[in-house]
């Protein structure tokens, strides 16, 4: 008797709850869609050319570039060779910045992880420093450094390296937090110093994840390095801007640079994702590194 009166009550409560939840979700969805539509409207209104006006022209420029590249396809290998040094410079900017950034982030992360840091009082301020380094877009540092140091690859390298310290420092310290402290305690009990504890106790646990994150950063930094070149920091991006400014009829060199950038990014992505997979899956460490 008791149960029969209760069951409809529970059903009704459940349905009411589900209905309420569904209402909330609907409202959120409507708000979100309205924001999206309104946002596109605003963006469209503030753009120099409208979306609908520009839509028919989207393929004009790629068609021009590809058409000219096709017409003078025999020249492309020569252009590839001509811009190879710039491409190497772009890759080197990314490579050196990733290396320097990862090295600094390695120490920064150890100093900013509770339980591992030799000076626990420095953990909080150091984390704020990493946050700020991560928040500053590379272009800000790069433009200021270009003003101080003149154009060229060094401003871009420093700018990307600083951002890398912030980004990797955060990821590294998250990895550190999951590391077991037992080896560290063991090493401490036999009188190992801080550096020895870290190198022998922590690094073997975290190295695969560190490497995986650093490789991912390298992929990101190649793109950043090409973009920074475009605002004046050397490398292939700078050449791209110059060739673009020559205008119609001379887009074949721009096409060659487009292809170089495209190819480099694809190759680096493939190679790096192959290594990242073997680093994270090969050691039964299937976590966030894999999904990123």
């Amino acid at each position: 008797m008791h149960q029969t009166t209760d069951a409809p009550q529970i059903t009704a409560d459940y349905l009411a709850h589900a209905c309420q939840k569904r209402m909330m979700n609907m409202i959120l969805l409507v708000v979100f869609v309205a924001l999206l539509i309104g946002g596109f409207g605003t963006a469209n209104a503030r753009n120099a050319g409208g979306f609908l006006n520009g839509l028919p022209n989207v393929f004009d420029f790629p068609a021009d570039v590809l058409g000219e590249a096709w017409e003078r396809a025999h020249l492309l290998p020569g252009y590839f060779l001509k811009y190879l040094p710039s491409l190497i410079e772009t890759v080197n900017i990314a490579g050196a910045a990733t290396l320097i950034g990862a090295l600094l982030a390695f120490f920064g992360a150890l100093l900013a992880t509770r339980g591992l840091a030799p000076a626990p009082r420095l953990v909080a301020p150091l984390r704020r420093v990493l946050d700020v380094l991560r928040a500053v877009p590379e272009i800000v540092i790069a433009l200021v450094l270009i003003f101080l140091l003149g154009g060229g690859p060094v401003p871009a390298m420093i700018a990307i390296a600083l951002h890398t310290v912030g980004a990797l420092g955060k990821l590294f310290s998250e990895v550190n937090e999951n590391a077991s402290l037992k080896p560290v305690d063991g090493l401490e009990s036999v009188g190992a110093g801080w550096l020895q504890r870290m190198v022998l106790g922590v690094v073997p646990q975290v190295a695969p994840n560190y490497l995986s994150y650093a490789l991912l950063r390298f992929e990101i930094n190649i793109r950043a390095s090409a973009i920074l070149g475009f605002v004046g920091a050397g490398g292939i991006g700078y050449d791209l801007r110059n060739t673009m400014s020559w205008g119609q009829g001379k887009f074949d060199e721009a096409a060659a640079i487009f292809l170089l950038i495209f190819g480099t990014i694809i190759i680096v992505d493939q190679v790096s994702s192959h290594f990242r997979n073997s680093l994270t899956h090969g050691r039964a460490y299937q976590d966030k590194g894999a999904i990123l």
Binding site: L35, L36, G39, F40, T42, A43, N44, R46, N47, A48, G49, G50, F51, G54, N57, V58, D60, F61, P62, E89, N92, G95, A96, L99, I100, L103, D131, V132, A135, V136, P137, E138, I139, V140, L143, V144, F147, L148, L149, G150, G152, P153, V154, M157, R223, A226, I227, F230, V231, G237, L240, M244, I261, F262, I265, I266, D269, K288, I291, L292
Partner: protein
């Protein structure tokens, strides 16, 4: 017994060998890194950096970011005075008006503080405490400067047609046609109101009391020097680019992700096509998309949004399809056993499983795209990135550059906080990918 010692000695040998191998490997890595960095540093000519570094630019940058200067200039040909903050038209005092430390007259008296006094007239004098009186009568024949006896100090730069005196209090430059004094002040000039506003120089309390909040806001918002309204719009545009790009990409990538996932897409050809599309979108990269799209749509936030949207459709498609491939079949089977139609199976069997991963990824990219939008804005011409590059190109408004940098950092930190808050709110309790 002998067996044991023999085996232990071989074990020891293997251990030793493995240790040696490890040690060599441990040494080669740093050596390789060092070699690469050396090569890059030589290629980039880092050693020559010391000569290339522009110290005077650095001084201007640092000084400008926390201080400003007011120019007081006299045209020596007609005796007209001009007083302007940072020497800009927008900061010019109306004729006959002057700050309290300038006394206009036949000869204008400029007090630089600490006893430094400059008088601008047909004869220009600068009384430097502890050094003496510098006089000059600029005219056709040159600046005709007379300096106190003794060797020329290094803070005075004198030639026939030009005299420049730089002291802690300020700076005096005299040429044949013009005598100009700079006085430096701390802070950002005219940040709230420009000189033409009636509210310039009023204290916050007086402003509160005056009651004309609409007019006060109007004057602040349309401040010609700092353009607060434009800057606010630029920030909104940048956030808008990130928002539209990220969520637009997520909405397009979700159905495409199903096409590219092994367990949901029965057609191998379609799967292959979807995957190559993702690779293509990601490989072409935001830079090239920005260039291509700005040709069609012109500069502005829409171009930036679409560039982010295209790049991230590729990224999200890849992430989503990987997440979909890791979906647990048991839930889908359970839903199917209740007689659910395919759409319902997706809605209740698949979506709840992948939502945490997708949302956390999308929100992570929202923050990262705010930074990208700043950069894309600098290239395509929209948002705070454009203002920043413009301010840097003028090479003199470094206080504005610092202002924009502070705003950009605050904007990114705010987006980071919001996306982190949303992440914890929407995905609370569930294990979330990064």
């Amino acid at each position: 017994m002998t067996d044991l010692t023999a085996s232990s000695s071989t074990t020891r040998q293997t251990a030793r060998r493995s240790f040696r191998r490890k040690r060599i490997a441990g040494l080669t890595a740093p050596v390789l890194i060092l070699a690469y960095l050396t090569y890059v540093f030589v290629a980039f000519d880092v050693a020559g950096l010391g000569e290339r570094i522009n110290v005077s630019n650095m001084k201007t940058l640092v000084a400008d970011s926390y201080s400003y200067k007011t120019h007081v200039a006299r045209d020596n040909r007609n005796g007209e005075m001009e007083i302007a903050i940072e020497g800009e038209r927008k900061g010019r005092y109306a004729p006959g008006q002057a700050p309290s430390w300038v006394i206009l007259g036949e000869t204008t008296r400029v007090e630089l503080g600490n006893g430094h006094v400059v008088e601008l007239g047909p004869e220009v004098t600068y009384d430097v405490p502890g050094y003496g009186l510098i006089t000059a009568t600029p005219g056709r024949s040159g600046v005709n400067a007379t300096l106190p006896e003794g060797p020329l100090p290094e803070w005075i730069n004198a030639s026939k047609n030009r005299l420049a005196v730089t002291t802690d209090a300020g700076r005096l430059t005299i040429t044949r046609n013009r005598a100009e004094v700079f006085r430096y002040f701390n802070g950002w000039e005219l940040f709230f109101f420009t000189l033409d506003s009636p509210y310039y120089g009023m204290s916050p309390l007086d402003l509160l009391r005056s009651g004309d909040y609409g007019a006060i806001w109007q004057d602040f918002w349309t401040n010609k020097m700092w353009r607060h309204g434009d800057v606010a719009w630029a920030l909104v545009e940048t956030v808008l680019m990130a928002f539209l790009g990220t969520f637009g990409a997520a909405m397009i990538a979700l159905p495409l992700g199903f096409l590219a996932a092994k367990n949901f897409s029965p057609l191998g050809g379609l799967r292959f096509a979807a995957r190559r599309l993702f690779d293509f979108l990601r490989g072409v990269d935001g830079l090239i998309w920005t260039i291509v799209l700005s040709r069609a749509f012109g500069p502005g936030p829409l171009t930036g949004s679409l560039a982010i949207l295209l790049t991230d459709t590729g990224t999200f498609g890849k992430i989503f399809s990987e997440a979909l491939e890791n979906v647990d079949d048991k839930q889908i089977e359970g839903i199917a056993s209740t007689g659910a139609a395919p759409v319902q199976r997706y809605r209740f069997g698949v979506i709840p499983q992948i939502t945490p991963v997708l949302l956390s990824q999308v929100l992570y990219y929202l923050e990262s795209n705010t930074r990208s939008a700043t950069i894309i804005g600098a290239i395509t011409g929209g948002g705070i990135g454009l203002l920043l590059t413009q301010a840097i190109i003028t090479q003199k408004d470094w206080e504005e550059v610092s202002y924009y940098i502070v705003l950009i950092i605050l904007m990114v930190v705010a987006m980071d906080t919001i996306s982190g808050w949303l992440r914890s709110k929407l995905i609370s309790g569930t294990e979330a990918g990064h």
